[in-house]
């Protein structure tokens, strides 16, 4: 089995474009009729649904940003009656206001099919035992891969994340062949197997699908070695559906975008201008046939490159590179990519509110990496030792996520400089003279 839906995944470009055009025309009419936000934006720009004849007219439509999602929380962008929805998923919510995405049954099916395509591209068939160790719940990781695994007909182990002892026990006892989780958790499982004296060739796994957080090629090599598997990347975001918006095939050279459902564009993040294929810029997605929460031209803030180069796997869907950063916030500190999202993840896990500021500077040719974190009454210990202990524990947790050691400074509540209500996340004192990193 090479493809989950061969006809679709291998169709010629002209056919992809034809399908995209038909779906886009329908989708624009749907959102214009049902979502006030789109109607107002389009009216402002003087664009009517009748002006959209096909995929080439996509650039006439307005962009949508994460702020728009927050402003329209919870029902503002819902394009079908609430009673037609069967599910919500939600993002981790970094500024207090979460983003909630809605799904009809059709939308869930579409999403799960995308995940099934990813599983097949990673070598899975209905004979496989698929261990899903992403978190379940509001987070899309667990439900997405779980659904994909069902669609494909794998025996699905809905492990969710954590409890590594049990993960390893089920993996060994039930013969899990495909592991789905975050790359950092995959690496951790690898270490735990080693600690238990289980050699890479002695676990039943053959492949893994790892996403939801940035990871490097070095990390891939490490995970492949530690688990004795091939490690595949998967990309997605809750706003667009979840994991499976794009996925890697056996080539491991970029992720195929499920173009029958999602149109990708690359734009200049400063001007909004659409850039030609092969340019590095901000990734923008349009949902072609989702019903409940169909975002048009949603700015992901991920920086990457798109390619239509022919892939030896036979899929004709265009490929995107792994996100090389965020249009607003990736940092390279001591040679390591650091994403504020990783820092947020650690803070939430350690019981802190994600109110922080990263300060990077350079002293004696070495990067100095400080993170200020706002404390609250609950964690305020009355002694210096108590506060220092907290700072050290948080630094250790950061080190294990980021790979480099920041200095943590707890600061007073609400003391971090805010701009228009949002905390200023990054102060990079090294960059005052150089251009932004992604421009080259």
């Amino acid at each position: 089995m090479r493809y989950f839906q061969e006809k679709i995944e291998t169709m010629p470009l002209e056919e992809i474009r034809k399908i995209q055009s038909e779906k886009l025309v329908r989708q624009v009419r749907h959102v214009y009729e049902h979502v006030r936000c789109y109607r107002e934006r389009m009216d402002e720009m003087g664009v009517k649904p009748e002006d959209i004849h096909g995929i080439d007219d996509l650039r006439k439509l307005p962009f949508l940003t994460k702020d728009d999602l927050r402003d329209n929380y919870p029902f503002g962008l819902l394009a079908v009656p609430k009673k037609d929805c069967v599910r919500i998923q939600s993002t981790s919510g970094t500024t207090g206001r979460r983003v909630v995405a809605f799904y009809t049954q059709h939308d869930v099916d579409l999403w799960e099919e995308c995940c099934a395509r990813a599983l097949v591209a990673a070598g899975a068939t209905s004979d496989d035992v698929c261990q899903v160790s992403y978190g379940y719940g509001l987070f899309t990781g667990g439900p997405g891969l779980n659904g994909g695994s069902h669609k494909l007909g794998c025996l699905t182990l809905p492990m969710s994340s954590g409890n590594t002892d049990r993960q390893i026990q089920f993996m060994m006892d039930l013969g899990a062949t495909v592991l789905c989780c975050t790359p950092s958790y995959a690496a951790y499982i690898g270490e735990s197997l080693k600690e238990r004296g289980i050699a890479p060739e002695d676990n039943p796994l053959k492949a893994g699908i790892f996403g939801a957080e940035p990871w490097t090629e070095e990390m891939r090599q490490g995970i492949q070695k530690a688990l004795g598997i091939k490690a595949y990347d998967i990309y997605g975001l809750t706003e667009i559906s979840g994991p499976g918006v794009s996925f890697e095939c056996e080539e491991q050279q970029g992720m195929h975008i499920n173009e029958d459902h999602f149109v990708a564009e690359i734009i200049d993040p400063d001007t909004g201008e659409v850039l030609p294929e092969g340019s590095k810029g901000e990734l923008v997605f349009t949902c072609l046939d989702k019903e409940a929460f169909p975002l048009l031209r949603y700015r992901t803030r991920d920086i990457c490159v798109l390619s239509r180069k022919k892939c030896s796997c036979g899929r004709t869907f265009m490929r995107m590179t792994k996100p090389m950063g965020r249009s607003d916030d990736m940092l390279i500190i001591r040679g390591v990519n650091v994403f504020p999202s990783q820092i947020e993840t650690v803070l939430l896990k350690e019981g802190y509110a994600p109110n922080y500021q990263i300060i990077v500077d350079r002293a004696n040719n070495t990067d100095v990496f400080d993170i200020m974190v706002e404390m609250d009454d609950d964690m305020f210990a009355d002694t210096v030792a108590g506060i220092t202990r907290r700072e050290k524990a948080l630094a250790t947790a950061m080190k294990s996520m980021l790979g480099i050691n920041p200095a943590i400074h707890l600061v007073a509540p609400r003391s971090i400089q805010r701009s228009e209500g949002k905390a200023v996340r990054v102060i990079d004192k090294r960059k005052l003279t150089s251009d932004r990193q992604w421009k080259g």
């Binding site: 404390m375 210990a381 009355d382 002694t383 400074h409 707890l410 600061v411 509540p413 003391s415």
Partner: protein, 143 residues
């Protein structure tokens, strides 16, 4: 029995203390005693004030992290060797000090020590047995 102290987390920035004391002044909270623990990045301001609830609520309104802590208040004579006598009692009982500070009353010829230890009750017990007078929140109001 014990004395209640307010601790406030203070960023190590200029004017931080002026801001806090101004807030308390505006609320007409009187300070009886205070001490500051300082590090390179932050400080902890510890205070005995005339109205803990009022002070806590106005400071929280201004987004400060505030914590009420039980401490031991001991009245000692204003004479050489009196503090040493208190600390010897604690030492002999094996009680470790976390911090302490002192204040004087306007009229009396006495000093007052504010002491933070892990076990307040035990400290109060051994000090009382050794003949020292503990002070409480209501005593502070009368000073």
């Amino acid at each position: 029995m014990a004395l209640k102290q307010l601790s406030v987390f203070v960023d190590n920035t200029s004017g931080a203390l002026a801001d806090i004391t101004s807030i308390l002044a505006q609320a007409e909270v009187n300070l009886r005693a205070l001490s500051i623990a300082d590090t390179e990045h932050f400080g902890i301001l510890r205070m005995i004030v005339s109205d803990n609830d009022l002070a806590t609520s106005v400071l929280k309104e201004h987004n400060y992290a505030v914590k009420e802590t039980q401490v031991v208040g001991v009245k000692i004579g204003d004479a050489p060797g009196r503090l040493a006598a208190v600390l010897t009692v604690l030492k002999d009982a094996g009680i470790n000090l976390e911090y302490l500070y002192a204040f004087c009353a306007r009229t009396e010829r006495h000093a007052y020590m504010v002491i933070r230890v892990a076990d307040n009750e035990k400290a109060e017990k051994v000090l009382t047995e050794a003949g020292f007078h503990m002070i409480t929140d209501s005593d502070v109001l009368k000073l």
